[in-house]
Amino acid sequence: MTGPAIAPAYAGVDELRRVARELLESGEVRVIIGWEDARRGARPVFITDPAEADKLIFDTRCVHNLVTYLDPRRDHVSELGRIGLVVKGCDAKAVAGLLRESQLSRDHVVLIGMRCGGVLEEGELPEPLALTPENVAPRCYGCDNREPTLTDHLLGEPQPEPPRPVMTIDERVAALDDLPLEERWAFWTEQFSKCVRCYACRQVCPLCICERCIVEKTQPLWIESAAHPRGNFSWNLTRAIHLAGRCVDCGECERFCPVGIPLSLLNRKLQQIVHDRYGYTASDDPENAAPIGDYRLDDQQEFIK
C-alpha cells in the first residue's frame, strides 16, 4: 500500500454508541468498557454516564483486549456492577476462557461484539491507519473469529481479511525452530536477560487468573524473584506453560512488555504443540473444553515413562 493511509474507523460506531447509551439508560448495565480517543491515542474507557457514550470509538487502533477487566483479580471493576463490554473476536475467546474455567458468571456481562478486520500493532497513534503488511498486528493474520459468536449484540459490517504481515508469527517461530540448539539458547538468553520482572505480562493477561501467583510464593521460594538468568528463565517459562492450551493469542503480554520480549513466539509455539497433540484451538465457544481441564481416556501419554 502506498500513499498516506486513510483512517479506517470500522463500521458500527454509531450503533455501538446507541447500544451503549441504551444499556446504561435502561440500567441493564452499570458501566460500559470500550475504547476512547485520548491524548496519546486509543485507550480503554469506563463509561457510567449515558451522555458520555459518544466517547466510544472502534477503529484499527483498538488493540487492547478489554476482557482483562473481567478477570476475577479486578475487584475495583467488578464492584461497579454489571458490565457492558465491547469485544473483538479475539477478545471474545478470552471471555469464553473465563467462562470455561468458571471465573465469570455469564449474567455479569453484556457482550457487544464488533465485526473486525484486524488491528494495528500499536494503538498509540493520533489517527487510525489503514492496515498494511508493515503495521498490522501479526496475530490478525489468519484470524478465525473476525465475527465473534459469543455476543449479546453483534455490530458493524463484515470486514475483509487483514493483510498478511511481512513476517507471520508462524514464520518467526519456524525461523527459530530451524536454528541449532545453541543459537536458540542464545536467542532466549538475550531476550530473558532484558526482563525486569515487573510482571506486566501477567497483569495484563485476561487469563492469568490466580489470586496468588506462584512467583509470589516465597516460602519456599519456588521461582526466584530476582532478575538474574535463573530467575528470569524460571519465570518466563512458567508463565508460558501456565497459559498452554488457554492462551487466546491476544498478544497483550508482548505489547505491554516494557523491554520488548517477544512472548508471542513462546505462546504460539505452545499453541502449535497443544493443537498437534490434542487437536485443540482456542475458540469463543465456552463449551469447547480446553485440554488442561478435560481428561480423556485416549489422551496421549507416551511421555509417562
Binding site: 491524548r39 496519546r40 480503554p44 508493515e134 518467526r172 527459530l176 543459537e183 521460594l221
Partner: protein
C-alpha cells in the same frame, strides 16, 4: 556564572577512550541495533528496513559505542545505583554455626557520560531517602564512586514535563557537570569538584577558550528553547498539588484514578525515582545461599499484604493513589522534593493509557479551584 570549557567531538570520544584505557568504568547511552543480535531472527522490524535501534545506558567497552544522539534510554540510570537485583550478603550454615559473608560497599571510580538530566536529577532526589533513618551503604558507595556528566536534553516528546517538577532539560542536579552541543563540539560546565577533576585530569582534552558570545550564546539559546518546549507540555503548582493531595485523600479524583490500570508495575520499573525494594533469601544448596534485594513495586497487591492476610491497599485504585501520593505529596512533605523528575517514561510505557501528564493537570486544576463548597469565612 560557572566556568565553561570547550571540548570537541573528537576530544569527547578521546576522553572516553582515555578513561577506559585508564581502567575507569564508563557508563553511557549505547544504541543497539537489535537486527545485529540473535534477536534479529524473530524480529519483524528487521525484515522491513534491516535496522531497529534501542538506546540503553550500558557500560562501554569501546569509546566508539558512545551514542550522543540524545534519544531517551529505555531504562533510567537507576539500575547502576540500585541494581535490579544485588546480593546483600551470603551465608553458610553448618550445624548451629552460621557464617555470614559481607558484600563490598566500596566501588571503583566510574563515570557516567551523556546522562539525561532527568535521570541524574533522580539520583539527588533518591539520595534523601537513602540517607534518612538508615544510610544505605551500597547506594552511597556507588554514588561516591561515580562522576555523572549530563548532556543537555532537547526534550523527547509531549510526555516530558521536567520543568513542572523542579527539574530542567539543562539541569545539573544530581550531576557533576553538563555538556551542551555547539558547533563542532560541546560546552562543558563543571558543577562539582568531581566535575572539575575531570577537566584537571584530562586537561589536554578541554579548552578554556570559549568565545562567550558565539559558542556560549548558541548553547544558551538551545537550552532556553528546550526549557520553553517542555514547559509547554505541562505547568503545575507543585506546592498546591502536594497540599491538595494531603488534604483530599478521599476525593473521588484520587480514589478513582486507576480504572484502566492493570497494576503491572512497568511504570515503577522504568521510573528513575521509584526505589522500593524487596529482600529475599535464595537458598542455593544445602546450608548456603544469598540474601538479595530486588526492585519491588507498590502496584502489586503483595507489596502491602500482611502476614495476617489483611491488605491495607486491597484495590488497584488505592495502589495507584499511593504512587501519586508518595511522589507528589508524601515525599515532598518529608524531604522537600517531588519524587518525580518528569522523564515521562511511565506514560510512554503504559499501554493501558494511564497518563501522568493528564493526571497532574487534573489534580492541579482541583488544587487551584476555589473551594466554593465551603462557606467563606467572614463573608458576611
Amino acid at each position: 556564572m560557572s566556568e565553561r570549557f570547550f571540548i570537541s567531538e573528537t576530544d569527547l570520544r578521546g576522553l572516553t577512550a582515555d578513561l577506559l584505557d585508564g581502567g575507569t568504568e564508563v557508563i553511557a547511552p549505547v544504541a543497539t541495533d537489535i537486527c545485529q543480535s540473535p534477536s534479529a531472527v524473530a524480529a519483524t522490524a528487521c525484515t522491513l528496513d534491516g535496522s531497529k535501534v534501542e538506546i540503553d545506558y550500558r557500560q562501554l567497552t569501546s569509546a566508539d559505542d558512545l551514542d550522543l544522539s540524545r534519544g531517551l534510554p529505555q531504562l533510567s540510570l537507576k539500575e547502576f545505583f540500585l541494581p535490579e537485583h544485588e546480593p546483600l550478603c551470603r551465608w553458610r550454615q553448618k550445624g548451629t554455626t552460621v557464617q555470614v559473608f559481607e558484600v563490598p560497599t566500596e566501588f571503583a571510580p566510574r563515570v557516567v557520560l551523556a546522562a539525561k538530566p532527568c535521570d541524574a536529577a533522580a539520583l539527588a532526589v533518591v539520595d534523601k531517602v537513602m540517607n534518612w533513618d538508615y544510610e544505605d551503604e551500597l547506594w552511597n558507595g556507588r554514588r561516591a564512586a561515580t562522576t555523572v556528566i549530563n548532556l543537555a536534553c532537547q526534550v523527547i516528546d509531549d510526555s516530558c514535563f521536567c520543568t513542572a517538577v523542579g527539574a530542567a532539560p539543562d539541569d545539573v542536579k544530581g550531576a557533576d557537570g553538563l555538556l551542551t552541543p555547539v558547533e563542532g563540539g560541546y560546552v562543558y560546565e563543571p558543577a562539582t569538584d568531581k566535575g572539575r577533576a575531570l577537566v584537571e585530569d584530562f586537561a589536554a582534552r578541554f579548552s578554556a577558550d570559549v568565545p562567550a558570545d558565539t559558542i556560549g550564546g548558541q548553547a544558551d539559546d538551545e537550552r532556553a528553547a528546550a526549557r520553553a518546549r517542555v514547559a509547554d507540555n505541562l505547568e503545575i503548582d507543585a506546592d498546591s498539588v502536594r497540599d491538595w493531595i494531603e488534604a483530599n485523600f478521599e476525593d473521588p479524583l484520587l480514589t478513582h484514578l486507576a480504572m484502566r490500570c492493570n497494576g503491572c508495575g512497568a511504570c515503577t520499573g522504568v521510573c528513575p525515582t521509584c526505589h522500593c525494594f524487596d529482600i529475599v533469601d535464595e537458598q542455593e544448596g544445602v546450608g548456603h545461599g544469598t540474601r538479595r534485594r530486588l526492585w519491588d513495586t507498590c502496584q502489586a497487591p503483595t507489596f502491602t499484604l500482611h502476614a495476617s492476610g489483611h491488605n491495607p491497599r486491597d484495590t488497584q485504585h488505592v495502589r495507584y493513589r499511593q504512587r501519586i501520593n508518595h511522589k507528589f505529596s508524601i515525599y515532598p512533605l518529608r524531604f522537600g522534593e517531588v519524587l518525580c523528575t518528569g522523564c515521562g517514561r511511565c506514560t510512554r510505557v503504559c499501554h493501558a493509557g494511564q497518563d501522568l501528564v493528564e493526571i497532574l493537570e487534573a489534580i492541579d486544576i482541583a488544587a487551584r479551584r476555589p473551594r466554593d463548597a465551603e462557606p467563606a469565612e467572614a463573608a458576611s
